[in-house]
Each structure stands twice: as C-alpha cells, then as structure tokens.
C-alpha cells in the first residue's frame, strides 16, 4: 500500500488503529517527495529532522491514549512558505527572506501541533503571494502534476501541486484574491478560503491585510473540513480575528442538499470563459439539481469592478506591508552600499522580483497624494458596493456557483509578460475576498487536454457549513476525476 495516496483522514484513522505508525507515514511522505519533487518543485524546504523528531513525540502521545479526539493526529501536513515556522526557514519564495528563520510560530502552526499533526515541509509559492501561476518564485516555478508543461496556479501553487502529486496528504495555503482556490482548480484538488477572520493571521506574512486568509488544501471535502476545524478559532493576537459560535465544520459533511438554493451569475458563464470550463460547470449544476437543489442563473451586479478594486486595495496594502523589508532587521541586505539610502534601494531592488516591484509601485501610486481619492478611496467605496450586492444575493440564494477560473491550467512560461492579462484571470475569485466571504473550489471534470476543471461555491459570511454540505454532496454523487498518478499526462 502506498500510504502517500491516502486521504488525510484515512491516514489518521489507520494511525489510530495502529495499522501505520506516525514515523512510517512521515518517512513514506519524505521518500515520495525526494523521489518526485525534482519534477514538480513543490517544496522549498523539507523539515526532515524536525518532522521525524515530532513523529516520535506524537506517537508517544497517541500510545499514551492522548489525542483521541484528534482525527488528524500523526498526519503530516505541508505548509505554504509564507506561514512562519519557528526555527525553520520561512522564505515567501523570495530572495529577500531566503535565510529568514522566525523565532515564533504562526498561530495555525501551534494549532496543528496541538492536534498532533506533523509539519513536514514548506511549500513553494509565488513570491510574497503575488501571482497566479507560481512562476514568480525566486526558487523556480512549480509544475502542474497533471502536465508538467502547465502551471499549477498560484500563489499556493506548491500546496496544490504537492497534494495532487501525493507529496502531501494535505496542506495549508493562503488566499488573498484566489490563491487557494485557483491552484486547487488547476491541480484538481479541493481548497477552501474561510470567512475573513476565521483563521488567525498571526504569523502569516502579510500581503493584503484586509483580504488574506489561511485555508486548507486537500484531496477531498472531508479532509478540508477536518483541517478547517483544527485551524479555525479566535486568536487574541490578531485584532481582526472573529469569535465564532460554531466551529463544528465536520458536522456539515452530509449527503443532502434538498431545497438548497444555488444561483449561477450569468456574468460568470458569459464571455471570457473557456467553453469546456463552462460545460463542466453546467454539468455540475445538473448534478446538484438532481440531488434536489434549486439551481438557476441570475444577474450579479458589479462583476467587472471587482478586479480593479481588488488590485488597488491589495497593491496598496502590499506596498505598505512589504516596506519593512529594508535590509536592516532581518532578511537580505545588499553587499555593495556606501550609505543608508543605498542599503534601502539596492537591497529592495536586488531582493524583490519583478512582480513584487510592480505591485510596490502600483501601491505607492494609488496611495500617493493627489491620487488617493481617485484610486484607493474609490476602491474602498466600490468594495462597499460589492459587499452590499452580495448581501442582496444571499437574501435569495444560499450559495453562488460558478467556475473558479475562466480556463484550465495555463501553459508554463507564457504568462508573465502581460501582467494585466494575468490579473484578469482572477475575475471569479477576487470579489469573494473583497466581501470577506467563504468559498471552496472542488474538481468537477477535466478538459480535452486532461487538465482539471474547478468549480467554486461561494457562501454568505460564516456559512462554511452550507458550502461544505453542498460540496460534499456533489463529491459523493460523482465518480471523481482521479489523480495524476493514475496514468495522467505526466
């Protein structure tokens, strides 16, 4: 049995039943990574030593009868490299933080460890989470396990690819404008962005503070729900953390959506979407209908304004959040400088990649005096209107259904010369972040090239359970698209 092909919960179960030891699981995972990661490049750092040590600790705890209520006890989890792991390199896939070792854990890491999970490594990503193809990483691009000539998506490209290639049972990604959902769609796995404030941002290296959320990427809805339960919770260290009433997300894994109202925005299946992707969504809609959901199309306003508003706000916040990388307290510092001004300019010019620099400048522009009102303040007003329009929609519908991305995985190496075109690919995902809503991407088919198609279900604030229920029901009633290792186009 190739352990690495198990789902996270199945592995957890086998560990509880003493069929597999934690150490065996960790070793198997490490072996698989070492065998295959030269191809996919999903990992930046393997935490072999700490993982093996932790495996022994967790095994002792399990043997002593502890962690009985933790379904993920002993399960290796991989983590996107913008989430701080104490004493282990956390690079954000940037030269700027190439050797940075934070002296603290992100809150989510503490939660994972308390649940008995074993952190196995840090995953490749777009530099500082800015990108949609995982091609901006300082450590090289990630390849899509379904077809290595294609991108895995971004910015959590490493996370989605690792899960798809059996290099991780499950993973943590982060999502600011679609960075969990879109790579999940491109890699044929399941990824969830929770309601803003659900998972603590403490220790998540900030990109767009009012938009960022950490979330699970896994091979099915159940794994995502289980991981979400471990990660979610109020954290006093994060002022934007929300105290929720109900964290029992796994209770939503019920095969029943009778009467649930699902709306498909006409604009989401109108122009710009690939025909095959559209067909995949409509087929999925049919499945949901057959399971008793009421599915219809409707007019969603403000769709065209989400991307400009998103990029203004995200770039503005990013330009401020990344100013701290100045070569003074941590991270990269230029070797050739004669004065302080050169330390700043050369460090930042040498340490950041092109996309990051681009967004620093856009951010500076939209916040600069004279332009603040026309761009940044305007974007905040548009954001208010977008939120309002979703509030209206959710009076009528329980969920919104649509494609996660307008295409399947793009080809490698063809995307970075036209940044605007790349930004426009985020059309279905960014509005969700602007309004703080929860959303999931699940595979709903493959195109004629054999590349996965992802569908997105969006819920109202705090309604992850509705999303999970619908996603679970769909998943239970279709054959599934399989995995790349089952004879896909590797």
């Amino acid at each position: 049995m190739d352990i690495t092909k198990l789902t996270a919960l199945s592995l957890g179960q086998k560990i509880k039943e003493k069929e597999v030891t934690v150490k065996e699981a960790v070793k198997a995972q490490l072996k698989k990574i070492k065998e295959n990661d030269d191809t996919y490049h999903a990992y930046i750092t393997l935490m072999e030593e700490t993982a093996l040590k932790r495996a022994e600790e967790v095994q002792s705890l399990i043997d002593r009868g502890e962690l009985k209520d933790s379904p993920l006890a002993g399960v290796p989890v991989a983590v996107k490299d913008n989430i701080c792991t104490k004493g282990s390199k956390t690079t954000c896939a940037s030269k700027m933080l190439e050797n940075f070792k934070p002296p603290y854990n992100a809150e989510v890491i503490d939660r994972l460890e308390a649940a008995g999970a074993v952190i196995i490594g840090k995953l490749n990503m777009d530099e500082f989470a800015m990108g949609s193809t995982n091609e901006t990483s300082y450590f090289g691009a990630v390849k899509n396990p379904w077809n290595v000539n294609h991108v895995p998506g971004g910015s959590s490209g490493g996370a989605a690819a690792a899960v798809a290639a059996a290099e991780a049972f499950c993973a943590l990604g982060s999502d600011t404008g679609g960075s969990i959902r879109q790579p999940s769609a491109f890699c044929g796995v399941t990824g969830l962005k929770p309601t803003y404030g659900t998972i603590s941002r403490y220790g998540l290296i900030a990109y767009g503070s009012s938009l960022d959320q950490i979330g699970p990427i896994a091979r099915n809805v159940s794994d995502c729900a289980a991981l979400l339960e471990v990660l979610a919770g109020y954290d006093a260290k994060d002022s934007t953390s929300v105290k929720r009433e109900d964290y029992k997300f796994t209770e939503a894994l019920v095969n029943d959506i009778k009467g649930i109202r699902i709306g498909i925005p006409k604009a989401y299946i109108g122009k710009g979407i690939d025909q095959e992707v559209k067909d995949g969504i409509l087929k999925a809609a049919q499945v949901l209908k057959e399971q008793g959901a009421i599915v219809e199309t409707f007019d969603l306003p403000m769709v065209d304004y989400a991307i400009p508003a998103y990029y203004v706000i995200a770039s503005a916040e990013a330009s401020s959040n990344l100013s701290r990388y100045d070569g003074i307290k941590y991270g990269y510092r230029t070797k050739n400088f004669e004065n302080l001004s050169e330390v700043y300019k050369k460090t930042r010019s040498e340490g950041f990649g092109a996309e990051v620099k681009r967004r620093m400048m856009i951010g500076a522009f939209v916040l600069s005096s004279g332009y603040y009102d026309a761009y940044y303040n305007k974007a905040l007003k548009v954001k208010a209107l977008i939120k309002k329009s979703f509030d209206e929609v959710f009076k009528t519908y329980d969920l919104i259904l649509g494609p996660t991305a307008p295409t399947t995985a793009l080809e490698l190496g063809k995307n970075l010369s036209d940044p605007l075109k790349m930004y426009l690919g985020d059309i279905y995902t960014v509005a969700v972040n602007l309004a703080g809503l929860p959303a999931i991407s699940i595979p709903c088919g493959k195109d004629s090239k054999g590349l996965p198609i992802g569908m997105q279900l969006i819920g109202n604030l705090f309604e992850e359970k509705k999303i999970l229920r619908a996603a679970y029901t769909y998943e239970q009633n279709v054959p599934g698209i399989g995995y790349p290792w089952e004879g896909g186009n590797q």
């Binding site: 934070p102 992100a106 503070s209 260290k237 994060d238 002022s239 916040e317 307290k329 603040y372």
Partner: protein
C-alpha cells in the same frame, strides 16, 4: 524699522505612562539594555500583528477632556509610511483622518495677562526606536526599546506670539499631564518633546509668513533660545529681501544657532491609509462619562481649594500645586493632622532648596509624608529645635529616615537642662567681651552673635529661646 510679529504653533509629543507599549505587551520602562524591551511585534517582524492597549485610549481621552476638547467618539488608526531605521515596520501607526480629540484649548497666564491657546487636535500614535551614533566606527546603532511606546501628539493652533507664551503653554500642559497621571513629563528623558513651528510677519499683516520647524526640543532653556534665534534669523532674511524657506531646522544649543537639516531626497509623501490590522474605536457615552468622572482634581481647582480650605496665601498655593507630587505630599501630611502653613513652609523652603541643590524634579521625591508629619510633631513637642529639625529633614529627604529613630540615634534631642546651658553661656560671655560690650551699648546684633556662638558650642541642640533669655538675664 518694520515691526514684526512672531507666530508660533507647537506639536508636543508626550509618552504615556502605561505599563506596556501601545500594540504589544512589552514594558515601557525607561532605559534597559538595548533591544531587551522588545518582541517580534514592536520590531516589525514578518507576520506579526498589533493589538491596542486600552489604557492608551483612556489616557488620551482624559487629556482631551482636561483640555476642553471634543472627543471623536468614532475614531481609528492610519498608517503613515516612510523609511527610516528607527521605524521597523517602515510605517508608523498614527491617526490622521479621525484623531481622538479636536478643538480643545488651554488658558495661559503671562506678564501680559491671560490668553487662550487653541488645541487643534490630539491623536494617538506609536513612538519610534532610538538611533545611537557609534563614536568609534562610521555607523549608527539601532535600539528598539522605545519603539511602540504610546504617544499622544498635541497639536496647537498657531496662537502663540512669544517664547514666554510658549513656555507658559508648555508648563501648563505639563502640569495637566502630570495631574492626570498620564505621563511623567520628563523632558530630559524624552517623555515630553516639542516641535516648534515658527514664522514671522509684519504687524498687521493678514497672511502668515513661511514657517520653519524645529524638532524634538527637550528643554525649556533651549526652546526659549531657539525661538529667539529663529525669529531673528527670519527677520534678517526678510529685511534683506530674501525668502524664508519652508524647512526643518535643527537647533544647536551650544552654538546658539539653527542649521537646515539636509532635506530628505524624496518627497515626504506619507501615503496615509486606514490601518487594516486594527479595528475602529467606538467610544460610548457611558465610557466617556466614566473617564470624565475619574478625572482627578486638576491644578486650578486645587489651587482655589488650598486658598479657601487651608487658608494658605496665594504664593504658597501656587508653589505647592505646581507639581502634583508636592500637592499630594502636602495633602497627606495635613491629613495627619498637621498645620497647613507649617507643612507648606517645609515644602516650599527646605524641600525646594534640596531639590534645587540636587537638580531633582519634585516627582523624584521618595520620602513618605508620615515622616515629615512626625518631624513636625517633634518640633511641636519641643523634642528638637528648628535648627536641628532642618538637619533631620535633610536626612528624611535623602534617606526617608524615621525622624524619631534618627534623633535618638544621633543624640539630637534638644538640651533643656538650664544648669548645663548656664555653664556654656558663661564661657561664651567670658570669651567674647567685645560683643558683650557692643550689646550693652545698644547693638542688638551682638546678641544674635552670642546666641549663635552658644548654639555652636552646644552643637545646635539648645533651645535658642532659653539661651536668649539666659543671656539677657546675665548681661542685663
């Protein structure tokens, strides 16, 4: 010769005396080895987030209320973005769009009478770290202990017209802050800093002239000299037909002149935007009223009360209330049943003398009021005389000694044994025939001399009144 008017506005930064920093639980204690009062949050490490200290908001509200300002009941924080090594996040969390307080004022009194100085706004912000210029190597060292200490910035209207008014404003502000207990206002430690915005214009002109800024002034002396120096410099320029440049200048107190600071090469575009990591503050009427109710008696009210309740002269009331610490000690000792005027004298005379001698601020007094009360009691009982009492007081001031124990240990009790005194007095009289002669011929001063000599011989422990009586008896 044209007549010029000086127009001055002040931006005062005051470090709040909370126990912890504004956004993290590090101590705000002054000093300490570099970077030992720091954590990942206040050193701007990646992934860290701020959490607001409630006490900062309450202190800021208290200051706003005590200066008759309007509290902005819905306020928030903004980021002020710029690069400098003392700012680890490369942005300072401050308040631009909705500062916590607006439109207050302070009444000052100068030689020209009373005047109201407007306060444009008060806002909360975080302090930056400290830069230490290395004397041995061509480099600068950065210490973030101070980074994140909560500040309020008090921005005045350009209502001041002279150094005298500026000093009066600062002194009044200092007293209010001390009375509220929100800051120790130690200018020499940097917990109170003033930026001076100064321009000149011809008397009668409607427009303001171009102003310059002098930053981080931290002594009243330097402020006075800086204002006078800058006024002179600007007038000279205008008289020569040259323009005053809007710039930041550094006042060099040693050279008694100011220098233009090298202008930063890029525009100071701070790109303010609302801080996304902090949620807005909503101050309810209940909260506002609770802070108002908790306001201690402020200086002006106390001064009036000292006149009416204790019957003290204005002069005394002024000095005692100039420092909350002094006022507190005064009230505590009077509470222990001591005569207010007596207590007042001890504080105004001996205490002030010792403070000046040791270059101490009243806030640094550490002796307990009960010890002063006891000292006064010993005088009342006749256990010691006033001369000895002054020495005992010095011991109380410097070591917080228990006066009774001290008097006992040092053998300072007043000598009342008249027989012993007569012996000594007789010796003094014999030794000073000229003085005796002088006294008998009408020179009263000679008596004082003889008394003094006797006191010296008796190591100050005699009751001077008895010495006086005996001498007069002897000499006729």
């Amino acid at each position: 010769m044209k007549q010029y008017e000086t127009v001055i506005g002040l931006e005062v930064h005051c470090e709040l005396a909370t126990k912890t920093k504004i956004f993290c639980s590090c101590t705000t204690a002054f000093g300490g080895e570099p970077n030992t009062h720091c954590c990942p949050v206040c050193t701007g490490m990646p992934g860290t987030l701020p959490v607001l200290n409630k006490q900062v908001v309450e202190y800021a509200m208290a200051v706003g209320l005590a200066t008759d300002g309007t509290i902005t009941q819905s306020c928030k924080f903004d980021r002020k973005n710029y690069f400098y090594p003392d700012l680890p996040k490369a942005y300072q969390v401050s308040q631009l769009y909705l500062p916590i307080c607006q439109n207050g004022s302070i009444e000052i009194e100068t030689s020209s009478g009373k005047k109201v100085i407007g306060i444009h706004e008060i806002h909360m912000e975080e302090d930056a770290g400290k830069l230490i210029h290395d004397p041995w190597e061509d480099c600068t060292l950065v210490d973030y202990n101070r980074c994140g200490v909560p500040l309020i910035e008090i921005v005045s209207e350009p209502d001041m017209r002279s150094a005298e008014e500026v000093i009066a404003y600062l002194e009044k502000l200092k007293i209010i802050l001390q009375y509220l207990g929100v800051s120790d206002c130690k200018m020499q430690e940097g917990s109170l800093r003033a930026d001076i915005n100064l321009s000149v214009r011809e008397v009668g002109a409607k427009e303001f002239g171009t102003r310059t800024e002098m930053k981080n002034m931290n002594s009243f002396k330097a402020i006075k000299r800086a204002i006078e120096g800058e006024r002179k410099r600007q007038i000279e320029l205008l008289e020569e037909g040259k323009p005053v440049l809007q710039e930041t200048r550094r006042w060099d107190d040693n050279k008694d002149t100011s220098f233009a600071m090298r202008s930063k090469e890029d525009a100071q575009d701070y790109r303010y935007f609302p801080e996304p990591d902090l949620v807005p503050i909503e101050i309810s009427d209940e909260w506002l009223n609770a802070v108002k109710a908790g306001e201690p008696e402020l200086r002006d009210a106390k001064r009036v009360r000292y006149l009416s309740e204790f019957g003290l002269p204005e002069y005394d009331a002024d000095i005692l209330t100039a420092s909350k610490k002094l006022a507190d000690i005064f009230e505590a000792v009077v509470d222990l049943d001591k005569n207010p005027k007596e207590v007042s004298n001890w504080l105004m005379v001996e205490t002030m003398r010792l403070l000046k001698e040791r270059e101490m601020e009243p806030e640094e007094i550490f002796f307990e009021p009960k010890n002063l009360a006891e000292l006064i009691g010993l005088i009342e009982e006749g256990t010691i005389n006033r001369t000895i009492a002054r020495d005992v007081f010095e011991a109380v001031f410097t070591g917080n000694v228990n006066p009774s124990v001290y008097v006992e240990e040092m053998g300072l009790k007043m000598v009342c044994d008249e027989d012993a005194m007569r012996i000594t007095i007789a010796e003094i009289v014999t030794a000073n025939p000229q003085s005796v002669e002088d006294y008998r011929s009408g020179k009263q001063k000679a008596m004082g001399f003889l008394v003094g000599q006797t006191m010296r011989a008796m190591k100050g422990k005699a009751d001077p009144q008895i010495v006086n009586r005996i001498l007069k008896e002897l000499l006729g």
